[in-house]
C-alpha cells in the first residue's frame, strides 16, 4: 500500500456489499476526479478495500496515515474532504463519527467504542488492503505461512500445531480442526479433497462474506496449508450464489496466486500442487451441511446422507475429504506464523482464539465485530454494539441463526464460548447475533425461524419434513389467537422428538428457536393463548385498533371500514367494535389525523 515514497496519504474507501449498496463506488469515483482536479493524483492514493465491519455507518472513508474515519460519506461531500483535508490538512469535523450518547465527534478508527473492545485477527487485513491485489496481502506477511509449511514442516507437524492451538470449527458445531485433519490425513486413498464451506446461509449472518470479499487470500492460503497437511491436491470452494462480489474476488485471487506460483503446480518449488475450483451454490440452505454440500458439488440434489462414513474416509466422489468453514481456514495461516501458543493466549481454555460476529437487528452499530472468546454477550451488545436504538428496552438476543436460540436479559453475562452457549440452550453457530427489543414478539421470532427451516427442509427424513410442518401449524395457530394450552405440550414434545431423530444438523437443530423461547419467554406464549394478546403488539391478527382523542369525527374511517365496525356521530370521537373488527388496518391508513392506534 505504501511502497511508493511520493505517496503522502492513502484514502481507503470501503468496497464491501453494504457500503457499495449505500453508494461507495460513486464516492470513490468522485474522490479520484476531485484529487485529479487539484493535481494531487501523484501523492494521494485511493484504495478500494474490503469490509470494515461498521456497516451501519457506510459508506466509510478512512484517510491514512492519521487514520481519520469519515462515516456516511455522500458523493457531494467529496469536494470538501479533498479541499479541506487532503489539500489544507484540516479534518472535516461534520463527517466524523459522532458518539450517539454524548454527541462527541471521534477523529480516528481506534478511538471508537465499536473497535476498542475488538480483537481483530481474522479481520486484521479486511479493510486494510485492496483485496484485488495479491501484492498487498503479501506485503503484510501473506503466503509466508504456506512457505514455512512447505519448506520446513512435515504434514504431521502442521497437524500437531493446529491441534495444539485448540482451533475449533467456526461454522457452528465447534469440532476440533486439528483432529479432523488428522482423520483425513490418516485415511487411506491416493486422491483426497479439501473443501471450503462458504455457503453462509444463516439469515442475519455475513461474516464469511466479508472475509471472502475483504481478504480472500487468507482463506486460500489456509486451504493450501490444510491440503498439504492431509495430502490433497484438489480443492473446492463452495460459495453461495447470492454473493457475487465474493465470487469475483476469489476468482481474481486464485488467478493472481496461480500466476505467482503460490497456488497451482509446484508451489514454492516444493513439488506440492493444489488446484482450487470455485463452485457456485444454487440456493439451498441445507447445502451448508457437509454431506449435502458434497452432493451439490457432485451435481446432484443437495440432500444429506447418514454418517458414518464420515467425509474424512468417504467424502467427495467417495474419496477422503476435509471440509472446513471460511473463518476456520482464515485462522490457519496466522496460527502457523505466530504459533499455537499465541493463539491459545486469546479466548478461554476450551474455546481458543477469536470469533467474528455479525451484529444486526435492533442495535445501534450494525456490523461485524471480532472478539476474543469468553467475552460476555453484554459486552458485545452494549459496549461494542452501542446498545438498543430509540431508547427502547433490550428483550432478547438470537444467537446461532435458525439452529440457535434466544437468550433473555438475565443470560447476558454468559461467556461467549462453545460450551457455555450450548449449556444455556443456544449455540455458537456461525456467528449471527440478532438483537431484539420490546417491540419484537418472541413467538413470532420462533415462527420466523421455523418457517425458514421448514421451507428449507430437503424432505428426506420424516422428523424434519413432517415434524417441522406440524410445529409451524401450531405456531401459526398461536399467533392468530387460536392456540390452546395443549398446543404448548405438543409443541414441546414434537421439538424434543425432532431434535433426537432428524437425519442432519438442519433438522436436529431446527427446534432450538422454539425450545429456547419456550424456556425463557413462556409467558409470551401464554399471553397469546390465554389472553389472546400479543404483548409486543407484533402479531397482526391479535392486534386491536383504537380511536384516540385526536379523532375529529370526520367519518372517513367508518365509510372505509369493510365490515362496518366503526360507528359515531359526525364531529365526535368514533368507536371501533372489537367483536366485529377484522384487523385489516384500512381505518388506520385512511385517517387524516393519525387518530387510530394499534395495540
Amino acid at each position: 500500500m505504501m511502497q511508493d515514497t511520493r505517496i503522502r496519504a492513502d484514502v481507503l474507501v470501503c468496497g464491501g456489499t453494504a457500503c457499495s449498496a449505500s453508494g461507495s463506488q460513486e464516492v470513490m469515483k468522485r474522490l479520484r476526479e476531485e484529487i485529479a482536479k487539484k493535481g494531487l493524483s501523484e501523492e494521494i492514493n485511493v484504495v478500494k478495500t474490503g469490509c470494515h465491519g461498521f456497516c451501519e455507518n457506510g459508506p466509510l472513508v478512512i484517510v491514512y496515515p492519521e487514520g481519520t474515519f469519515y462515516v456516511r460519506v455522500k458523493p457531494e461531500d467529496v469536494p470538501e474532504i479533498v479541499e479541506e483535508h487532503l489539500y489544507k490538512g484540516r479534518v472535516v469535523e461534520r463527517l466524523l463519527y459522532h458518539e450517539p450518547t454524548t454527541g462527541k465527534s471521534i477523529p480516528t478508527y481506534k478511538e471508537i467504542d465499536f473497535y476498542k473492545k475488538q480483537k481483530r485477527v481474522v479481520l486484521s487485513k479486511c479493510g486494510a488492503i485492496n483485496p484485488e491485489k495479491i501484492e498487498e496481502y503479501i506485503a503484510l506477511g501473506g503466503y509466508e505461512a504456506l512457505g514455512k509449511v512447505l519448506t520446513t514442516m512435515t504434514p504431521e507437524q502442521v497437524i500437531e500445531e493446529v491441534k495444539k492451538s485448540g482451533l475449533r470449527g467456526r461454522g457452528g458445531a465447534g469440532f476440533p480442526t486439528g483432529m479432523k485433519w488428522q482423520f483425513a490425513h490418516g485415511a487411506k486413498g491416493d486422491k483426497k479433497y479439501i473443501i471450503c464451506n462458504a455457503d453462509e446461509g444463516d439469515p442475519g449472518a455475513f461474516m464469511d462474506r466479508s472475509v471472502l470479499e475483504g481478504d480472500p487470500h487468507a482463506v486460500l492460503e489456509g486451504m493450501a496449508i490444510g491440503a498439504y497437511a492431509i495430502g490433497a491436491d484438489e480443492a473446492y470452494m463452495y460459495v453461495r450464489a447470492e454473493y457475487p462480489l465474493a465470487i469475483k474476488r476469489l476468482e481474481i485471487a486464485i488467478d493472481q496466486a496461480e500466476k505467482m506460483g503460490l497456488l497451482g503446480n509446484n508451489i514454492f518449488g516444493s513439488g506440492f500442487n493444489l488446484k482450487i475450483h470455485i463452485k457456485k451454490g444454487a440456493g439451498a440452505f441445507v447445502c451448508g451441511e457437509e454431506t449435502a454440500l458434497m452432493a451439490s458439488i457432485e451435481g446432484r440434489r443437495g440432500m444429506p446422507r447418514p454418517r458414518p462414513p464420515f467425509p474424512a474416509n468417504s467424502g467427495l466422489w467417495g474419496k477422503p475429504t476435509n471440509i472446513n468453514n471460511v473463518e476456520t481456514w482464515a485462522n490457519v495461516p496466522q496460527i502457523i506464523l505466530k504459533g499455537a501458543d499465541w493463539f491459545r493466549s486469546m479466548g478461554t481454555e476450551k474455546s481458543t482464539g477469536t470469533k467474528v460476529f455479525a451484529l444486526t437487528g435492533k442495535i445501534n452499530h450494525t456490523g461485524l465485530a471480532e472478539v476474543p472468546m469468553g467475552i460476555t454477550m453484554r459486552e458485545i451488545i452494549f459496549d461494542i454494539g452501542g446498545g438498543i436504538p430509540n431508547g427502547k428496552k433490550f428483550k432478547a438476543v438470537q444467537i446461532g441463526g435458525p439452529s440457535g436460540g434466544c437468550l433473555p436479559e438475565s443470560m447476558l453475562d454468559t461467556p461467549v464460548d462453545y460450551d457455555s452457549l450450548t449449556k444455556v440452550g443456544a449455540m455458537m453457530g456461525s456467528g449471527g447475533l440478532v438483537v431484539m427489543d420490546e417491540t419484537t414478539c418472541m413467538v413470532d421470532v420462533a415462527k420466523f425461524f421455523l418457517n425458514f427451516t421448514q421451507s428449507e427442509s430437503c424432505g428426506k427424513c420424516t422428523p424434519c419434513r413432517e415434524g417441522t410442518k406440524r410445529m409451524l401449524e401450531i405456531l401459526n395457530r398461536i399467533t392468530s389467537g387460536q392456540g390452546t394450552e395443549t398446543d404448548l405440550v405438543v409443541l414441546e414434545d414434537l421439538a424434543k422428538t425432532i431434535k433426537v431423530s432428524a437425519l442432519c444438523g438442519l433438522g436436529q437443530t431446527a427446534p432450538n428457536p422454539v425450545l429456547s423461547t419456550l424456556k425463557y419467554f413462556r409467558d409470551e406464549y401464554e399471553a397469546h393463548i390465554k389472553e389472546k394478546r400479543c404483548p409486543a403488539g407484533a402479531c397482526e391478527k391479535l392486534a386491536q385498533y383504537f380511536i384516540t382523542e385526536d379523532c375529529k369525527g370526520c367519518g372517513l374511517c367508518a365509510r372505509n371500514c369493510p365490515v362496518h365496525a366503526i360507528t359515531g356521530e359526525p364531529k365526535k370521537r368514533h368507536v371501533i367494535d372489537q367483536t366485529m373488527c377484522i384487523k385489516c388496518g384500512t381505518c388506520m391508513q385512511n385517517c387524516p389525523f393519525k387518530a387510530i392506534t394499534k395495540k
Binding site: 456497516c55 440456493g283 439451498a284 444486526t360 437487528g361 435492533k362 428449507e456
Partner: protein, 165 residues
C-alpha cells in the same frame, strides 16, 4: 395470445438455441459434477430454464431428464417459467424481519399487484423473496437486478421502482 404460447413452447429447441447451449456444454466438457454450472449458465441465457433446453441438455449429457428436473426443482435459484425483465428480490432475513421486512414485501406486492413468486402481466417485474442478502447493516433491503437498495421504507418504494422500465 396463441402465438405467444407457441413461441414459449419452442424456446430452447431451435438450432440457434442448440448452438448457444453447445458453447456452454463445451466449456464444461470432461469436468465432473458440471450439471449445476451448465444449468446456471443456461438460465443466464433465458432468465429461466426452457423445457426444450433441458431436453437438449439431457440428450447431450446423457443425464435422464427426470434427474435434471429433480435438480432444477431442488434449488430455489432455478426457474421453469419465464420471468420479468426486472427481478426484484425482497430480503426476508432475520435482521430485515425485525426491522420491517414484511411491510416492505407487502408494499411491493401492492405496488406491483402480484404476490411473491409471480411476474406482472406486462413482464416488467418478477417479485421474489430471498432468505438473506447479507447486507443486514442496511436492513430492510431488496435487490433489483443484482443492485442492492437498503434502509427501505414503504414511502421510497415507488421512486425506486420508477427507475426500472
Amino acid at each position: 395470445m396463441a402465438s405467444q404460447a407457441t413461441n414459449i413452447a419452442v424456446v430452447g429447441g431451435t438450432d440457434a438455441d442448440h448452438a448457444k447451449i453447445d458453447i456452454i456444454l463445451k466449456k464444461y466438457e470432461g469436468q465432473k459434477g458440471s450439471l449445476i454450472p451448465i444449468l446456471q449458465d443456461t438460465q443466464d441465457l433465458y432468465n429461466y430454464l426452457p423445457r426444450k433446453a433441458l431436453e437438449y441438455i439431457a440428450e447431450q449429457t446423457g443425464n435422464p431428464i427426470s434427474a435434471i428436473y429433480g435438480v432444477v426443482t431442488f434449488y430455489s435459484q432455478f426457474h421453469l417459467n419465464p420471468r420479468g425483465r426486472n427481478i426484484v428480490r425482497v430480503c426476508q432475513g432475520t435482521a430485515c424481519h425485525v426491522r420491517g421486512g414484511k411491510t416492505i414485501l407487502e408494499t411491493m406486492e401492492k405496488a406491483l399487484g402480484v404476490k411473491a413468486g409471480h411476474t406482472t402481466d406486462d413482464a416488467r417485474f418478477t417479485l421474489e423473496t430471498i432468505a438473506c442478502l447479507g447486507a443486514c447493516g442496511m436492513a430492510p433491503v431488496m435487490q433489483i437486478n443484482g443492485e442492492t437498495h437498503g434502509r427501505l421504507t414503504p414511502e421510497i418504494i415507488p421512486e425506486i421502482l420508477a427507475k426500472y422500465k
